[in-house]
């Protein structure tokens, strides 16, 4: 049923390997050849839309890039779009350290030349009970992890956002403790759904969405998908994460999308899909239950929210 990307896309520039994630991962494993990371192909939406769930519709580029939670650029949804103009996402390096055989500082370009960039159309569910459908381009985090060969003692991965108060005006105020930090369990990080995204709609990642490289973990609330990553650490203990540190009674380490476990300020049973009038039901693990439920079969999700 799935068509190869190159067959449906006549663009010469369009050389990305394409992989679409629908409801099930198995159906998404078809792919084509690769190379350039940032081919621009938003003029042909069929590339993305034919791989959507029937209930989903893509959000527009405008919606995705003007309504963001990225407190480094300010706390209002429009601030990242308005205040991120001075941010310089290139050149960029990512330091990888902790419990790995090959700790090193990578040039982003070097990483990108060693991975396959794919399309992933994912639902994004914010903890504030709104959601979007976003066509990302990126690569599986597992590819990068394999490159650095973690030790068997590594059980968790921590991510750190860049700290540049002169380019990120929100960091000049201590709204949260900078730099922003997030974390995943090793098996979550290795899950094929987990990607490091470098673009959306075929554009390089816009500054307000986490340029030049960000995490996307589609079955968790949006705040887990940390933006503008400069450091990745491999640890044997569960790392502190920013929102959990700020308000542990509201935000947990796992932060799996779960309509049955409510946030004290937002019921998580329903959500507003941006662009829609009526609320819709929130799906367990944001609709990725088949792919990730097994990761949590021994975990009490009401305790480890």
């Amino acid at each position: 049923m799935k068509i190869l990307g190159s067959e449906i896309t006549p663009y010469k520039t369009y050389l990305n390997r394409r992989k679409f994630i629908k409801g099930s991962l198995a159906s998404a494993m078809l792919a084509t050849v690769t190379s350039s990371a940032f081919a621009n192909h938003d003029s042909d939406l069929s590339i993305y839309t034919k791989n959507l769930n029937e209930n989903d519709k893509l959000n527009s580029y405008e919606e995705i890039t003007t309504y963001n939670n990225f407190y480094e650029f300010g706390t209002h949804k429009k601030h990242p779009h308005l205040n991120s103009g001075n941010f310089k996402p290139r050149p960029w390096t990512i330091k990888i350290d902790g419990l790995v055989k090959k700790p090193q500082t990578f040039d982003l370009e070097k990483i990108l030349s060693n991975v396959t960039i794919e399309d992933r159309v994912y639902r994004l569910r914010c903890v504030e009970a709104w959601s979007m459908v976003i066509p990302w381009q990126g690569f599986q985090l597992s590819e990068l992890i394999k490159m650095v060969e973690p030790l068997s003692s590594a059980k968790y991965v921590q991510f750190v956002t860049v700290f540049r108060p002169e380019e990120m005006p929100g960091q000049q105020k201590r709204t949260i403790i900078w730099p922003y930090r997030e974390g995943l369990r090793m098996d979550e990080a290795m899950n094929p759904l987990t990607i490091l995204a470098t673009g959306l709609y075929g554009h390089e990642m816009p500054n307000q969405n986490g340029a030049p490289i960000r995490l996307v973990v589609p079955w968790k609330y949006g705040f887990k998908s940390i933006k503008s990553i400069v450091e990745i650490r491999f640890l044997d203990t569960q790392p502190e994460t920013s929102w959990e540190t700020l308000a542990p009674w509201e935000y947990g380490f796992y932060a799996n999308v779960n309509p049955n476990v409510n946030h004290p300020r937002w019921s998580q049973g329903t959500e507003r899909r941006i662009g829609e009038f009526k609320r819709r039901e929130t799906l367990m693990f944001n609709g990725y239950e088949k792919e990730v439920a097994h990761l949590y079969k021994d975990l009490d999700l009401t305790k480890f929210y």
């Binding site: 407190y71 706390t75 949804k77 429009k78 709204t175 300020r265 941006i274 662009g275 009038f277 609320r279």
Partner: protein
């Protein structure tokens, strides 16, 4: 020195100025110009406007202690009623647009989520204030009782600012400023009360 007439004359202008934002937002909402999440935006703007107007009514009472501004009190009722108007719009946006009259969900929301509880109680307390705002009502109730009822504005203001404070996720500057103003205004009233009997003696 501003006379009662000065303030009364400014009323039509004030009326239009305070009414205008609601008309603008309604127009923007209908024409799709309220941004990417228009229902949330509408609700936020209406609520913020209501809170600011509530604080302004408290300020008016304080300002009327300054001799040349004594007559400013004549503006208080109109602004208070506008605060109620914006609270009603805010609340109905929540009920109708945000939750589509899903009463079961809404009742749960009011009970379970403290910030919504605060907002809801604040709204309830405003109802007797708004419904006893006419001159006729003051007469019927007697000034003393009427005044007692209108002390409800203090819990209304405090609850409304708490409603806002709890809602904000990280940068609490704005709600803290509002809370600070409310506390200062209340302290001023307490101070006045404590010093008045001494003067009488």
């Amino acid at each position: 020195m501003f006379s009662t007439r000065n303030f009364n004359r400014s009323k039509p202008v004030l009326f239009i100025l305070i009414l205008f934002p609601s008309l603008l937002w309604a127009y923007q909402f209908v024409t799709g110009n309220l941004g990417v999440n228009p229902i949330e935006k509408l609700m936020d703007e209406l609520g913020l406007m209501a809170l600011r107007l509530i604080i302004i009514t408290l300020m008016i009472t304080t300002l009327s202690n300054i001799k040349p501004l004594k007559s400013i009190v004549v503006l208080r009722r109109m602004i208070g009623l506008f605060a109620f108007y914006y609270v009603c719009l805010h609340f109905s946006t929540y009920i109708v647009l945000d939750h589509f009259l899903d009463m079961q969900f809404i009742i749960q929301d009011i009970i379970k989520r403290p910030f919504i509880t605060f907002g809801f109680i604040s709204f309830l307390f405003l109802i007797p204030l708004a419904s006893t705002s006419t001159k006729n009502m003051i007469k019927r109730l007697g000034f003393k009782l009427w005044k007692k009822i209108h002390y409800l504005i203090y819990p209304v203001a405090i609850l409304a600012s708490m409603h806002f404070y709890v809602l904000v996720r990280a940068d609490k500057t704005e709600p803290v400023i509002y809370m600070g103003i409310i506390i200062l205004l209340l302290l001023h009233r307490i101070f006045k009360r404590l010093t008045r009997p001494q003067l009488a003696q």
